[in-house]
Subunit: 311 residues, 4 copies
């Protein structure tokens, strides 16, 4: 395997997981600014010097925009690719790699667009309800999502300094303007058949890793706790990377460093129309990025899906 | 003045602000478990030993349940009282002291129920829209609120240990079961005339102080950014403790250690029905508790409203 | 294997590592207050109900004082034991299990006293210098150690609340009164032959896990950087759990979640007498407790020393 | 007054304190990259556009190197100056403004070099012992100092990102190479008459503000706790910004947001030669920088020394 962009937060996680993977070999890894340095015994190279032809699959953790170009180079060299950037997520020629919904299409995929961290959590929470026709599209699905700072990358930005983030909390991209929204809506339509309105507001948490989404779902019918749980139990019965919590709500602590989504489902009291609150937690660097990329890689290679992954 | 319960997080903030207040004297302060200790030059006493008759106004930062009883003692002794607990917030005999809406009734109030921290932020965000008839009650108002740990008090609880809270984040009381909800709905009806549904979900942030609420408002009509801002500008034109941010969203950093609410207002794009997202930030210990109590005290005494307060 | 006390911070780490260990089976685990609950598929029992006779080795993460008693029960039942408490660390009948120095005595040990977290880091830093006779005992060795909060345990204490620890830092047990000091001095004498004075001052860091010790060593002779590095390289040539950093200082980030000590060695400039500053970092829950217990267990069982350990 | 460099962490604190000062007017403030913006009602200008002749005293919070040049401009214009950078701290033409020791020379000072944050805490801890001839110069004074991130400034640096600092801790400039050392030694010689060796090692804490120094002092004679306390009590009897803690150790929480040093003094047990451990805590931005600058300014102007300062 080859890794493009191995030194950002996502790339480093990907490198770490692949280096410890029992069945795949990591042949090369690139890092423009640290080429020549050694990482885990491997000499980092520039992307222009990477031996694309030597590997079966190229995984890219390069920034949006740059990634698409180098993944194109890999594809032109006849290599399969998993792109962790947003560049192909709306491209019909790529398989949108939310593993739990894409499994049958992954085995032969030439190009997998690894989902964004926010959509991964939201889709795993919403698709079962959408497939069951339970979401009332006359009212909006409201998602408030909070992410740790590694979701914003490793480039030094004044607003990501410890002195600014610690003891602070804020929303950003409010008003439904986050770039993950189209991806989320497209997948919700494709995988869940839901085309109603979604309001998505991300927030920056003073933690290093983890995403928690509080998802407010208007229902077409009342759904007691037990029935709501049954919808999820049926949808995810044999899924190794999805946990439905029975009697408590998920927190970041349940999922950090693991390739797992934890879901908690609560009917809403004290309102006139039926609603459900769903809480979804993932590690943005694992199930939200590098871990899911390995999960997809395993399926692409016909390996056990969770091989090399802490689930 | 006398302070009941001066050693919890709210009580300590109240003590600190009163001790530095240029026009009111702090005659006594109580603390059951630390009676006999000296705090800022004052010897702490047990509530049973407090000289209720020596003071004009008693402020209570005792826990819910306990507070009501001692405030009753103060009232029976003919003293005016500001109760920071929830004990009188639904009591029609008390003035609900959200200063900005209660001002005319505060001057002669015998008993002021200081609002909860979560309702303070939510009400300052929602009442102007409600009064203008802009909230669509066929869809729900959804509030996701996140609070620092001092909002949960100073009693040692396993889930409030640094080892559990740091690098973590979670929702609690999901499903609309938080005890602040009835207070919020009652005030929204009384002060804003709005009786539609509200979904309120609190979260625990890994910060010491501060509340940020992301408030999703379904509108009866489209409201461009400038008009939305105008509604708030009109409502809070001369308010010293309310800031409407023009071109950015509020964060905790804007309000901690200050008796101030910061509001940011954003129309929601990419949806079919008109909506507004309002972000409200306060310091839970200041505008959300002790600061607002002083603000109320100042009005009760005919003093300048922000005397002794960092606004 | 059996684990006594599986739900404190150390016990939970021990449970987690043992449950994932490829060659040892975890037969039972105890937890007085959570007996009956299921943890990782295993039903927790009270210590009094544990089947001591069913296991080869008992590991105890019980609190100091309590641990000694239950380890005695295990020993009386003829079982080998690894005690992670302080109860046997000064007992000549137990092997003091700092693996790197105790290896030959571990294979047949009936009772291993797992070292304290602070001494583990300090001893790995000091013993090579002591053995080489390089420490000047006419001046004191000064150790300033800083630990994350999990080192203080999981019992709710007011001073361990997030509201008290976050944005704070303090020393404790100053004046050389920490209970780890006798253990440290005993091992320094036994393993290093050094009997001079040591001043040890622990501090509480606002982090969850990790210990960093800044160790000030007066030298009997000048020791340039290269020679200092050579002393450590010789001492730890084949050690899998010790890393000597060449050109930078260790930080907590280098060692958390790993059974590893990272050492940085710097000669002191601008002084008249020769001195060395050694920085040692470990994860207090791994190499400082549960990880080292597994490392010892592996040696006791004749397994590869780092089996099941992230090094 | 005029402030050079009002938007770094120190400059912003200086601006905030001066803007709220009851007796001095803030005429202008500079910020190269944000010139034209309004801060607290004042329009920021470039240093080249500042009206040096309009003010009585210029305070500079510019970076080392740059500051000296602009302070030179202020002096050439005949203005008095307080320089918060390191540029004049070793210059005999400037008064080294550690207020408690420099008071008599400040009244008429034309140029005050405001001390570094680390030396401020260390000197307030050491000078009383040094003046009393109690420090044994045959052994070294060892200082381990830990600082919050605002001490490293507001320029985006990869190692100051939240993702790197949170849950981390490290030493830097180990081996006695920190640039504050010469300043510390010079003042210790001048103000305390002590010329022995000092080993100073700074560390980076995951907190926003505050410095805690653990200072290890070899003594010429045994000094019981009461006598040690008496040395400090005598030295600081009437000092409004120095607190000697009697029965507990200082923590950051005791001093943040205050222009105060808190000192704790503990004799060292279990050693053969007499030693004292002194813990000193300050807020690096207040007593360690901007607050002390105001304290000096007040003395220069003949105002009450703590006017406008939270002590």
């Amino acid at each position: 395997m080859g890794v493009l962009g191995a030194t950002g937060y996502v790339g480093a996680e990907l490198f770490r997981l692949l280096a410890a993977h029992p069945r795949v070999a990591l042949n090369w890894a690139t890092a423009e600014s640290r080429a020549g340095e050694t990482l885990g015994g491997l000499r980092l190279v520039k992307a222009g010097d990477a031996a694309f032809r030597d590997v079966e699959i190229v995984l890219s953790a390069l920034p949006h925009g740059v990634s698409g170009r180098w993944v194109g180079v890999a594809r032109a060299a006849g290599r399969r690719a998993v792109d962790l950037s947003a560049d192909f997520r709306l491209d019909p020629a790529a398989v949108y790699g939310l593993t739990e919904f894409a499994r049958p299409r992954l085995a032969d995929a030439a190009l997998v667009a690894n989902p964004g961290c926010y959509p991964t959590a939201a889709l795993l929470a919403l698709v079962p309800l959408a497939r069951a026709g339970l979401i009332d599209d006359a009212r909006e699905v409201v998602i408030d999502a909070a992410s740790g700072v590694t979701g914003a990358g490793r480039n030094p930005r004044p607003d990501l300094l410890f002195g600014e983030v610690s003891e602070n909390y804020k929303a950003y991209a409010a008003g439904n303007t986050h770039r993950h929204l189209p991806e989320l809506r497209a997948s919700l339509a494709r995988d869940g058949g839901f085309t109603g309105d979604v309001v998505f507001t991300p927030h920056l948490l003073p933690v290093k890793r983890g995403i928690l989404e509080t998802i407010h779902v208007p229902l077409t019918q009342a759904l007691p706790a037990r029935e709501a749980a049954a919808v999820y139990a049926a949808a995810y019965r044999d899924e190794p990377c999805v946990t439905i919590l029975a009697d408590r709500l998920p927190s970041l602590q349940d999922v950090v460093f693991r390739n797992q989504v934890a879901l908690g489902v609560v009917p809403v009291e004290n309102v006139q129309r039926p609603r459900l609150t769903v809480i979804a937690a993932i590690d943005n660097l694992v199930k939200g990025a590098a871990g899911q990329a390995i999960q997809n890689l395993n399926v692409m290679l016909g390996l056990p899906e969770t091989l090399g992954l802490p689930c």
